[in-house]
Symmetry: C2
Subunit: 417 residues, 2 copies
């Protein structure tokens, strides 16, 4: 029996359902029996055009994806192309029309390097991400639809220094001195330490959620996700027309997938800085399961924003590189770090809630590396190795090479939708 | 000797220099010897058009204001009309051209009730306020201009419940338990508790400042201001063409000024809820002095965001009403509270830094009430008493009367600038 059949949430809206996490989530939930509708403005594909790069895997246009899924599964997924941050009235109309029980919100620009590329990219990321989250919540209030919002946040909101603490799930118990000299105890939103403009927007989202939750009773689960690796899920692997995107470029490629792809095509593994950065990870198959678990376990009416750490393990970047190198014989290339961050950090993270809800983690298993390297090897002919190095820099003094003479710009707001 | 002559900050850009606090600040700094240039898109005047209300005082168009100041003082103030949130390139060009030493940032929608009026007003407030602050910081990074940003924040970012604590100046010392069971001490940004979408944007601004301060070394002073009362300053009183604006309507009027105006025109004092809300206050004359003190004492290079509480005293709203009633014989009208907030709260606030820097507070003095009531009585014929009641509500269930059939909308983004 699927989880969906055991709970009452039936209609799910997926904002950003064309992306790396959004697409497999849409298929997983559709497969689990939910009635799924996607909203996406295709901004991620447009950014590929801007960056002159393509998914290593040959992802199909949305209409072909949806037709293939209907053919393979016998299930329909709805699709609306509009911009959640800007096309406010379309969102209100869709809420009133579709009456979703839950809304999975991926409709944000998700790459930290892209968010630091230029002033235009910083401003696009803020306008898009802060605007999308806020417009969604304002639309829920206006429409009166009581849907559970499941938002994809990031472990990065916590920052990567925790003074010997295990990072809790969103809320931190603190003791403060009162005027009378006594100690008072309070539980607060974990202090934000964003490391890029992208991460900044996710910390701003947290405040938006907290306000609308308190003022209007909007029910929210905020999933603070680790770095996703892997490519395919049970559903995206069913037909090549359903294949998930695979980003390997310096802006959108995530670290472990980049290593695996680099090894597969015979390119040195690119470690930025010492590689002493410890990060949290999760496999794409677990991402989609976690989202289903979050949907199946909504907060009660009046409950504060529920924050879950959606990660399964932590690793140092250089340890990952060593592991991939040992397995494949690939050399490691230590490059200057374009980010302004600590060279080394520890990271201990609580992820009890999703485990208690039933997640059985897909931990880093070199067996699973094969899936990724197989995909990478198969589509190696599509790789443009000029796009592998990260050209975005956190500050002008972190730029490793002159930028190309092409000035790129984020998707125009004027694209008709 | 003026403070300006004792320090090196000479060129000051004032964003939002046409508003209730911005205009007197521009005149005060110009009078103190600074070279002042104003940026304003006149949005506050356009909102008056939308709300079908006018400043009780007959404020003059910007060109007349500036000509009058030049005539009275012999000093020129520059003026550029554009939208700081949207006209990014104009901001970059102005920074490179004017090379300001400090930038006073008032370019935000400042009324909590207005920010809660409708979804369009919520979205306008977020887009405008978060966008203006972020665009300014991105423009400083791109231009490479090392100007000190002095931002007008609000005491409201702290919320109004402090568990017996004296609210510190921005940063809170907390003790947390480590994994080993020991206690670690940290100083964190005071946890945000915004009470409206307007306040939400100011808490989001704090995160933007912290990020750009840490990543790019932008020097910022964030002034968490109390509720401003009074109308005129030494400079705005010099010539009637320089008169400051006086808002008395339910959205933009601040509580004490509303009471004083209501008393002057024979309207019952409007207390929302029990009047047990304790708030922090500051006189407009002290506002402009505090900003000069902040400019004269910039943070050092590499220093974290400096946060000062810009208020001089706290009062319960009903005590203020009683005081004005006792003085004038005005009756008090207790109305339903359109806000979602605690009925009663205490408030203890640290304001040591501005006092140490030399502020001599203009505390609540019934003598000063006369200035306001004189102005109100003089312009009573301009009052539209239908605009006194607050029609904005924090939630649909807090609406006290049906809204009028006129649907208002915030200033169009398309106004050519």
């Amino acid at each position: 029996m699927s989880i969906a059949s055991r709970n009452s949430a039936r209609r799910i809206l997926i904002l950003g359902g064309d992306g790396f996490c959004g697409w497999p989530t849409a298929l997983h939930l559709s497969d689990a029996g939910y009635d799924v509708t996607i909203v996406d403005n295709l901004s991620r594909r447009m950014i590929d055009v801007e960056l002159e790069v393509e998914s290593l895997t040959p992802i199909r246009p949305m209409s072909e994806r949806l037709a293939a899924w209907a053919e393979v599964s016998g299930r329909e997924i709805g699709f609306h192309r509009f911009d959640v941050a800007r096309n406010y009235q379309r969102m209100v109309n869709l809420l009133l029309d579709f009456e979703p029980d839950a809304i999975v919100h991926f409709a944000e620009q998700r790459a930290a390097p892209y968010s630091m590329k230029s002033a235009a990219h910083k401003r696009y990321t803020v306008d898009n991400n802060v605007g999308a989250t806020h417009s969604l919540l304002a639309a829920l209030v206006e429409s009166g639809i009581d849907a559970h919002v499941v938002h994809l946040g990031t472990m990065g909101v916590y920052g990567y220094g925790s003074a010997g603490m295990k990072i809790p799930e969103g809320y931190l118990k603190v003791h403060v001195e009162t005027e009378a000299g006594a100690m008072a105890t309070d539980e607060i939103l974990y202090p934000a330490h964003p490391g890029s403009v992208y991460h900044l927007t996710k910390t701003q989202d947290q405040l938006t959620f907290a306000f609308y939750n308190r003022n209007d009773g909007i029910r929210v689960t905020d999933l603070h996700q680790g770095i996703v690796w892997g490519t395919q899920t049970e559903q995206t692997a069913r037909d090549e027309r359903l294949i998930n995107r695979f980003d390997y470029d310096g802006d959108y490629g995530t670290v472990l997938n980049r290593f695996l792809m680099q090894a597969a095509i015979g390119y040195p593994l690119t470690v930025h800085g010492t590689g002493g950065q410890t990060r949290a990870f999760i496999h794409i198959q677990d991402t989609v399961r976690c989202i289903e678990l979050a949907i199946g376990n909504p907060p009660a009416a009046g409950e504060r924003v529920r924050i879950l750490n959606q990660m399964t393990e932590t690793h140092r970047v250089r340890d990952l590189a060593d592991r991939v190198a040992a397995l494949t014989g690939a050399p490691i290339d230590y490059l200057p770090n374009p980010r302004v961050e600590a060279a080394e950090n520890d990271l201990h993270v609580a992820n009890d809630t999703l485990i208690q809800l039933g997640l059985r983690p897909t931990t880093l298993d070199t067996g699973l590396f094969t899936e990724v390297t197989d995909i990478a090897a198969r589509f190696a002919h599509r790789a443009d190795t000029r796009r592998i190095v990260c050209r975005s820099a956190w500050r002008a003094d972190r730029r490793t090479e002159p930028t190309t003479t092409v000035t790129t710009a984020p998707p125009a707001a004027s694209t008709p939708v």
